[in-house]
């Protein structure tokens, strides 16, 4: 349904329910505004957008009135009434504004400043004392508030309440004393708090990390893609000279809309610190020495050539698509090996089969838009707010606007899940498959509505990477999708995982989900690479866990690692053992890491802003980005691999980014040159649901996942951001708390034979047999301390 109306005498035809302010935008008429934001509910509080509507005695707020048939609207362009009304409101807004633009971080990109120029008076008639507040007020370690500058548009408070669901800031006081504020002792620790800075139409909200660092006119803005998680946010990276000064969300309606999370916004300084400037080679003295690139490449090439094909590549899931692809190609073509894995985290063979069958090279199957329009979204082994925050935001939007039903198979309703009004199908870790089976069989209590909804058109199942720790969970998810007709998507945590999978950085898989065992697929890949099919590695490789074991067993001799962190590995001891026993290790690093002390050659590579490339988000959407720091001498992994390949005498096929992207387009079916062919796909995994036994008394089944803000290396030295982390705590059920005789806040130990974690306890409605710990937070590094993965049985006791 559309309506026809006129704005400034120009006819417009817009969908029914279109706000005047939006209709005017379609004509290119910008009506000034402060409180209006297209993704927030209208409030019409600032009164800046007043327009004249024929037949109405008073000017109306165009941000709150929808166009109706035949309505005649006149904006400030043609109406003196509207122009005067806006000028009057602007004059009022400025009387208490400190006009400290020269020292304000918003100065130069400030809607108030800009609109004061277009809609304001040239001079001020106000001579009285202005409102004054102590400034700035730190409402969290990351966000600072200048109340004097605030125009009470309530964008920040509405964002926090409506979009993020974290109403930790609210308007306090009233009348001319009205101000934004937090409650006593409860800071604005929302994962999405940085967005309020971006939507603040004045400089009232600024960040500690960017305060007074630079001015907008001094910055160069580049559109980039966030490298932190698989949500795939478009970012605006603003840099000055050689330093990134800040990051903002770039508007992308298909993915992150106008938002991003605080990790994506503030965690970028890791790129600056401790960067390697020259290659390092371990001398005969056992010490790493800086050498020239040619020396390093020659040394690495010699070492690898000697041991090839008894070589493996471990990638860690953080690489760009182009780099992961180059590794996939380098391993198969140059090293003649298929030992490659991008998963440096708890993983499983079932997962590899699932990915090969269902995910690799499928392109867009489930999108953000699908989530928004779904009748139900079932989450399996996924806590979206912690593990993929933009999925969380989209689910919350759908939950608020259209009552999307969210159901979750997991141990407890977390804060994030409560904000989605989610229904819990409670299970201990490891019981996911059994729960899905009984959901399908119809004998899970209270799940009938879930099953019914899953059978509706558009239903979605999202399964997280933690399903790898739960035998049968991936298989059961496929069954559930097949039985109900719901769409199934895989949500990894790291930005590089989906892209690495599509690029073929997994044993047995060539780019685009092609099976190495499939001759036709091999031939197709070989043709694009300009080689004979016989030039590619033949023997099927191993996943990471087996690779590490085979190094210790002497079956694999050399390793290439890229962006790897030992502490992320499911079995830290085995990893260290393997690294110490490997004959030759070439490590691609941005800075020294815990792998460096084992490496024989360290090749410094570019960070994500120093190279172009792409990430593929969980949807399968390829998110290209350009190089931001053009002057940086740093080189990408694929360039380095090219040098190595040349040195090792490999066929001269492309390693430059444009060549890589051309090949990828051909193989992955992207872009105009993409010619996606269908090849044989792997069969679905059919792992039976594990028997879930109740843990012995005094023990519990461990549930654990990464909190969004934790000890991750890429959150680096960013103290202000770290200050907004959620506290590390153990979650146990009320029953267990009673048994242990502990109250909220008491210390509780969680232990295995390997180690003990002691944390304050939080009592929540978690599955009776479960205990929850943060995976990698201060005081709780599960993989390192307990050496246990999700689903393990751990002892729980009062400290």
């Amino acid at each position: 349904m559309t309506v026809r109306a006129s704005v400034d005498g120009i006819d417009v035809v817009v969908p029914e329910g279109t706000l005047i302010i939006r209709a005017a935008e379609t004509l290119g008429t910008f009506i000034p505004r402060f409180c209006d934001h297209p993704l927030l509910d209208p409030v019409a509080a600032c009164r800046m957008c007043l327009v004249e509507i024929e037949g109405m005695p008073k000017p109306q707020a165009s941000c709150a009135v929808t166009l109706t048939e035949g309505m005649k609207v006149r904006t400030q362009m043609t109406s003196q009434v509207a122009e005067q009304a806006q000028a009057g409101v602007m004059e009022f807004l400025l009387i208490n504004h400190p006009l400290d633009c020269p020292v304000c971080d918003k100065g130069g990109e400030c809607p108030l400043q800009n609109q004061a120029m277009t809609a304001g008076r040239p001079d001020s008639r106000f001579g009285g004392p202005k409102r004054e507040f102590p400034k700035p007020l730190a409402i969290s370690t990351e966000i600072l508030l200048d109340r004097e500058r605030c125009v009470s548009c309530a964008r920040c408070t509405r964002f926090s309440e409506q979009v993020a669901g974290d109403p930790f800031i609210d308007l306090l006081e009233r009348g001319s004393d009205q101000q934004v504020g937090i409650a006593h002792d409860e800071p604005f620790n929302s994962y999405f708090s940085g967005n309020t800075i971006q939507i603040c139409p004045v400089g009232a909200l600024t960040s500690t990390s960017y305060r007074f660092r630079s001015r907008p006119f001094d910055l160069v803005s580049v559109k980039t893609t966030c490298e932190h998680c698989a949500s795939g946010c478009a970012l605006r990276t603003d840099y000055r000279r050689d330093f990134v000064m800040r990051r903002l969300a770039w508007e992308d309606p298909a993915v992150n809309e106008d938002w991003n999370c605080d990790k994506g916004r503030f965690a970028f300084t890791y790129m600056r610190h401790g960067r390697l400037s020259a290659p390092l080679v371990r001398g005969s003295d056992g010490v790493l020495h800086e050498v020239s690139w040619s020396e390093a490449i020659a040394f690495a090439a010699k070492g690898l050539s000697a041991l090839s094909p008894s070589v493996a590549a471990l990638l860690g899931g953080r690489l760009t698509n182009e780099d992961a692809y180059s590794f996939a190609k380098f391993t198969r073509l140059v090293l003649q090996s298929d030992n490659i894995d991008f998963r440096n985290r708890p993983s499983s063979g079932e997962e590899a089969d699932f990915l090969a069958h269902h995910v690799a090279g499928t392109g867009l199957v489930v999108t953000y838009e699908d989530l928004e329009n779904a009748p139900i979204v079932l989450l399996v082994s996924l806590e979206p707010e912690e593990e993929s925050p933009i999925i969380f935001l989209r689910l919350r939007k759908a939950y608020r606007k259209s009552g999307l039903k969210v159901a979750v198979i997991g141990p407890l309703l977390t804060r994030g899940l409560r904000k989605l009004g989610a229904q819990l199908l409670s299970t201990v870790a490891g019981g996911e498959a059994a729960t899905i089976d009984s959901l399908l069989a119809g004998d899970l209590r209270g799940s009938q509505s879930v099953l019914t909804a899953l059978k509706k058109k558009g239903a979605v199942i999202l399964v997280g990477e933690r399903a790898a720790s739960s035998a049968g969970a991936y298989s059961a998810s496929i069954d559930l999708a097949n039985e109900t007709g719901a769409k199934l998507a895989w949500v990894p945590r790291r930005a590089g995982e989906r892209g690495a999978l599509d690029a073929g950085a997994l044993a047995g898989l060539l780019p685009g989900g092609r099976l190495m065992a499939d001759a036709a697929a091999r031939a197709d890949v070989a043709r694009v690479w300009g080689v004979e099919p016989s030039d590619l590695a033949v023997r099927r490789g191993k996943p990471q866990e087996k690779i590490l074991r085979e190094i210790s067993e002497g079956k694999i001799d050399a390793l290439i690692t890229a962006g790897l962190q030992i502490s992320d590995a499911p079995d830290v001891d085995t990893f260290k053992q393997a690294l110490s026993e490997a004959k030759f290790i070439v490590s691609f690093e941005q800075r020294l890491s815990d792998v460096s002390s084992y490496a024989h050659v360290i090749l410094p590579v570019a960070s994500v802003i120093e190279k172009g490339g792409s990430f593929t988000d969980w949807e399968g959407r390829v998110r290209h980005f350009n190089r931001a720091l053009n002057d940086s001498p740093a080189v990408s992994d694929s360039t380095v691999l090219g040098m190595l390949a040349k040195e090792m005498g490999a066929p001269n096929t492309g390693w430059r980014i444009d060549e890589v992207q051309y090949e990828m387009a051909k193989l992955l079916g992207e872009g105009p040159t993409g010619t996606k062919k269908e090849f044989k796909r792997a069969g679905a995994p059919t792992i039976e649901a594990a028997d879930v036994k109740a843990p012995p008394s005094g023990s519990a089944v461990l549930s654990t996942w990464h909190q969004l803000l934790d000890l991750g290396v890429m959150q680096g030295p960013e103290e202000h951001l770290a200050g907004t982390r959620r506290p590390s705590q153990v979650i146990i059920s009320p029953g267990r708390a009673k048994q242990l005789g502990v109250a909220t806040g008491d210390l509780v130990t969680v232990s295995t034979v390997n180690g003990v974690v002691t944390l304050p306890v939080e009592i929540d409605e978690i599955h009776e047999d479960s205990v929850w710990l943060p995976m990698n937070s201060p005081g709780s590094q599960v993989l390192v301390t307990l050496k246990a993965r999700e689903g393990a049985t751990v002892k729980v006791a009062k400290a």
């Binding site: 974290d166 109403p167 930790f168 800031i169 609210d170 308007l171 306090l172 006081e173 009233r174 504020g181 937090i182 409650a183 006593h184 002792d185 409860e186």
Partner: protein, 215 residues
């Protein structure tokens, strides 16, 4: 903000009492105003502790409760004396004598900049219109109503309160103290009125109509 020295703690079972108020409403958040009145009935102000208790019981954030509590003028930011004396100084009351009453009372009780008398017995403040302009100037003591106030009558009332004498307002119930009246507003105390609460102004027209008007 640390609570002032003269702040008292909430009782241990405050959550239970707050819950009984919340349970009165199908939509529990509606109970927030009476709940804050209840907090004041214990503490004489709305403390951070009280805000957290309300937030806990209603399942909303403390910031939201703070937003509400700071919006309404009857919720106090600091502990109140035993009696809260409010003198109306909006147009009519102010001009008919409210200004003089307020100025005199502040001097008479030697109140500090916060309006507290040195003995902690009284807190004096100016209040906005009580919508009882026929009885101007209006003074409220613990929100009980006093009309046609003059400085010298104010002195008597204050002296009586200090001496612990029973003070009857011009309509309604005996003045008992700020915290006690907050219980009424919280809906936690329901007592049977025994006397009519009618004054001359309310009957003015009726008396004229009945020919009984005083001239």
């Amino acid at each position: 903000m640390t609570p002032p020295a003269n702040s008292v703690s909430l009782p241990n079972d405050i959550d239970k009492e707050l819950t009984t108020i919340a349970d009165r409403y199908t939509h529990r958040r509606s109970a927030i105003l009476p709940m804050l009145h209840l907090v004041q009935s214990y503490q004489g102000w709305v403390s951070p502790e009280g805000i957290e208790a309300c937030a806990r019981v209603l399942g909303i954030s403390p910031a939201e409760v703070s937003g509400v509590s700071t919006f309404y003028t009857m919720y106090r930011r600091r502990p109140c004396g035993k009696h809260l004396i409010g003198v109306c100084t909006t147009s009519l009351c102010g001009m008919l004598g409210g200004d003089a009453v307020l100025q005199d009372l502040r001097e008479y009780l030697s109140v500090d900049e916060n309006g507290d008398s040195p003995d902690g017995m009284f807190t004096v403040e100016h209040i906005e219109c009580q919508a009882a302009c026929s009885q101007a100037p209006v003074v409220t003591i613990d929100w009980e109503f006093f009309q046609y106030m003059t400085p010298w009558r104010m002195h008597e009332v204050v002296a009586d309160l200090r001496d612990g004498k029973e003070v009857k307002p011009d309509r309604g119930s005996t003045v008992r103290g700020f915290r006690e009246v907050e219980k009424v507003l919280a809906g936690m105390e329901l007592t049977e009125p025994t006397q009519p609460a009618v004054d001359d102004a309310m009957l003015a027209g009726l008396m004229v109509a009945k020919g009984k008007a005083k001239s």
